[in-house]
Amino acid sequence: MNTGGIILVVGSLLGATSAFIWLALKLSRASTVPPRTLSSQPKPTDTIASLAKEDVEHIFNNEFREELRNRGRLHFEKIIGENAMFLQQDLRETTTQLNEYMRAEITRTLQEEFKKYQQSITDAKQLAIDSIEKTITTIEQQRQLLETQMQTQAEAQKAELLARFEKAMASIINHYVVQAIGSQIDISDQLEFILAELENNKQAIIEDIRRGT
């Protein structure tokens, strides 16, 4: 129910109330109008007139007035009761409509709030997913970088170990050969080699001897 509906309901209630008040005022005014007297009519005689007057006074005496008043009150109460019933009914309808309206409004508001809440949850979920995806991407990049670095280091270490092994192996073999054949070759067999080496270094030896002497 919108604002126009509410105004319409309230207007109808006010109209019913004003109609009820107008009716009550009219009835009370009718009860206060003086009864038509017989004196205005032509009187054949004074006795008759006085009897009539007396009769009129008898008819419109206090008891009769009280009875009329009671009847009017009853009628008034009946009308008030009927109007009260209508008013109650209208109020009930209005209350029902208001309840429905409030329920609808609350439901709508709650739905909107739930929708916003759901949207917030969805956004938060999306943010979390994005964050997780970014983290996963970063971790993957880091892993790849680390893998590359480790591979490079492993290759370098392997190459270094290999070079060290080759160098050490060459030295070991040299040492082994020297130790193995050191005491096995007769110097007499080496004489030719020694003389050849002396011949190769002859000039240097001469120069050094000259310098020394």
């Binding site: 110097i187 080699f193 030896i205 001897i209 310098r211």
Partner: protein
């Protein structure tokens, strides 16, 4: 003046020192022989060879003194070379080496022989200012790259 001719058996400075000492002993014995009419003691083969090589009669006092002086001069002035072998060289080898050295380097050259088992083969020659490694060790060092290639080939399959 030092000796003009050195026998190949005279190799080291130590032997020269021994000869000088021997000559001094001979002189003392000669003096003693004149007093007590004893015979002059026999001389070592090396001293005899030195005397023969230089045409000197060792029984003559003047020759002995001359030889002693020449040997002393030789001890002072002869160039000395240190040579090391992996094992003890024979006398024949030393003579051949000293012969080559005296022919090609210096006529009065003396050797000081040492041992260096780590050189495996060949010799190491040390002149006053230089070391000539003529052993198998530098040869093997030179071949190290070839050996490394062989090892790399063995590792690489």
């Amino acid at each position: 003046m030092a000796l003009s001719k050195l026998p190949l058996t005279l190799i080291s400075q130590t032997e020269v020192t021994h000869l000088i000492r021997e000559l001094a002993g001979l002189e003392d014995n000669a003096i003693a022989a004149t007093v007590s009419a004893k015979n002059v003691p026999s001389i070592t083969k090396l001293l005899a060879e030195v005397a023969v090589a230089n045409g000197l009669d060792i029984n003559d006092k003047t020759n002995r003194q001359t030889l002693k002086a020449q040997l002393t001069e030789l001890q002072k002035s002869a160039p000395l070379i240190h040579i090391s072998f992996a094992s003890e060289p024979s006398q024949l080898v030393l003579e051949k080496i000293i012969a080559w050295l005296r022919t090609n380097i210096h006529a009065q050259l003396l050797l000081q022989v040492g041992l260096e088992p780590g050189i495996a083969a060949g010799c190491v020659l040390r002149t006053p200012n230089h070391v000539f490694d003529m052993s198998l060790r530098p040869y093997l060092e030179k071949q190290k790259s070839y050996l490394q290639r062989l090892i790399q080939g063995a590792i690489g399959g």
